[in-house]
Symmetry: C2
Subunit: 332 residues, 2 copies
């Protein structure tokens, strides 16, 4: 069906290897020969067979991005940026969804599908500290987030603790004293939830305010729905609060919706701060104050780190920190 090097060679009257040399910009090709080959390529619409090239070269020109779910705006925007960063380097991105499921994450790491790509960007959510050993796979990999630590695996680190501390401190500085937290995962310590909660605790301690666990709104999943539910339960519980720190924007928007529906004024009665700076917080009603974790930089750094790792497997471990900022809007 499709033309091969041999077809082009026949048409141009050269050996197929010369065509290969032209395609790969091998220097020692006579200009006239090169032109004849290029003409033949154009005439036949030749395009190299990537499977054959991969087989021969061991490179695929593709990387995988494994995220919990694309429908969560944070990951959609992250994927968007990763695809752009990869494209700048001539790489194509294949997306895997793990649905926050530990088993799916574990299976992914040994999946035969990974043999289709040169490297993996992995944003784990479900794996636990005990699974850390499973991260020692043969494929170049860069972890995204602060979820799992492994001494020998590359990592682009979101500053979960530091940023959460800043968000909490910001609310304290504006006079809020009863700050509820939405999205808590009880007992969890090393995940985004655990780390952000730690930042919250640290800020309160700094300010000499005792942590009141009645202000914790647990939410296993971080969708709008769970945010709304958590806020409702906080209100029903009768505990007083003048601010909500939601552990991501999606939760924040759900919580804000529930608060306003229940007649609380945002930010007058309750200030709301989110985390992620996704697009949807910018035009919510009111617009959402949030932490910008530097998503574009995360994507760019992660792809860059992965490309380095693919090029040199013996590189020292890369732990890349990422800049962040607090985005102040109307909800606080």
């Amino acid at each position: 069906m499709a033309a091969t090097l041999h077809d082009v060679a026949r048409l141009a009257g050269v050996s197929f290897k010369t065509v290969s040399n032209v395609v790969n910009d091998y220097p020692h090709v006579r200009p006239s020969t090169r032109q004849r080959v290029l003409d033949a390529i154009a005439q036949l619409g030749y395009q190299p067979n990537l499977s054959a090239r991969s087989l021969r070269s061991g490179r695929n020109g593709a990387i995988s991005l494994a995220v919990p779910e694309l429908r969560l705006p944070y990951f959609a925007e992250l994927a968007d940026e990763v695809i752009r960063a990869a494209e700048r380097r001539g790489l194509v991105v294949l997306i895997e969804q793990t649905n926050r499921d530990r088993q799916r994450e574990v299976d992914l790491l040994t999946s035969a599908r990974l043999r289709m790509v040169d490297g993996l960007l992995f944003s784990p959510l479900g794996m636990t500290a005990e699974d850390v050993g499973l991260l020692e796979i043969d494929l170049p990999m860069v972890l995204l987030g602060e979820r799992l630590f492994h001494p020998t695996v590359d990592h682009v680190m979101i500053q979960n603790v530091e940023t959460a501390r800043a968000a909490t401190r910001y609310l304290l500085e504006r006079g809020r004293r009863r700050i509820a937290v939405v999205g808590v995962h009880p007992g969890e310590v090393i995940g985004s939830a655990g780390l952000r909660l730690r930042g919250y605790r640290e800020a309160l301690e700094e300010a000499g305010i005792a942590v009141d666990e009645r202000l914790f709104g647990p939410a296993e999943l971080w969708y709008r729905h769970q945010g709304a539910e958590a806020a409702q339960q906080l209100m029903q519980s009768g505990v007083e609060f003048d601010a909500v720190f939601a552990l991501n924007d999606t939760l924040a928007l759900g919580a804000m919706h529930a608060l306003i529906t229940a007649g609380r004024k945002v930010p007058e009665d309750v200030a709301v701060v989110g985390f992620d700076n996704t697009d949807d917080g910018q035009y919510s009603q009111p617009a959402l104050t949030t932490i910008d974790p530097g998503r574009r930089e995360i994507a760019e750094s992660a792809v860059a780190a992965l490309v380095r790792r693919i090029a040199d497997r013996d590189l020292p471990v890369q732990h890349v920190p990422v800049g962040w900022s607090l985005v102040e809007r109307a909800s606080s």
Copy 2:
């Protein structure tokens, strides 16, 4: 590095072809031999080389999904569903972003990267009627949306006209008479914008109401920001309106934000209806009435149609309609 059929064969004491037969569940393998081979596979952690398999078989086990931008919630959720539908069929999804750019869409169709996949799901936005001929590519392809018609290309069709007519009729039935439209692309006829606007016109005509073009809020891009701007301009223009039909949810949320910020009550003063039923409309303040175009069904049908086309290139053209519904919420 990685084990091959030959390595396994050596360990199991059989020819490499027998190993291949075991891997491919070829029936005539003695149970004892099979077991010996399976043990060797397990011991070496053998996984087939997918490039070699592709080269030999001509199949890649991957499809591409080309969308304008993943950061638009509609496409993120679509991609999510497509990945799930593909996974059910053992296919992996590679995502291309065209950024709504005509040139990028055109380039994509002849891109060498497409040789990495068995088929393409393509949601074109920038291509014009003149580019339609470019859709005749050698690769199995299914178009998503109602944007481009081509007599010989498979198509999963969103019912743009019909649904927009229903949305408008719904507003008319609730007594609204001055319905603004946000997201209009002036002069455009065959795109989502043009078709949805046509549905709007038809509903007004049915009701015997003249179309007032002062109620059109143009917006080339369909982000929240443009929705907000369009609403602001409508308000500044002084034209009266008691409803907004936004051509997608993202625009609707932006418009709603602008309306509320300007002191208009939604839905009392202005009813707002969107299009797409993305997750973010569900917990906006107020929650957004919208058209559900059947995204999950679109994804499922599209992948199914693509798989059929890959299996049989001589199949008659597939034009698959998709069911839809109107989701009533607090904004109207």
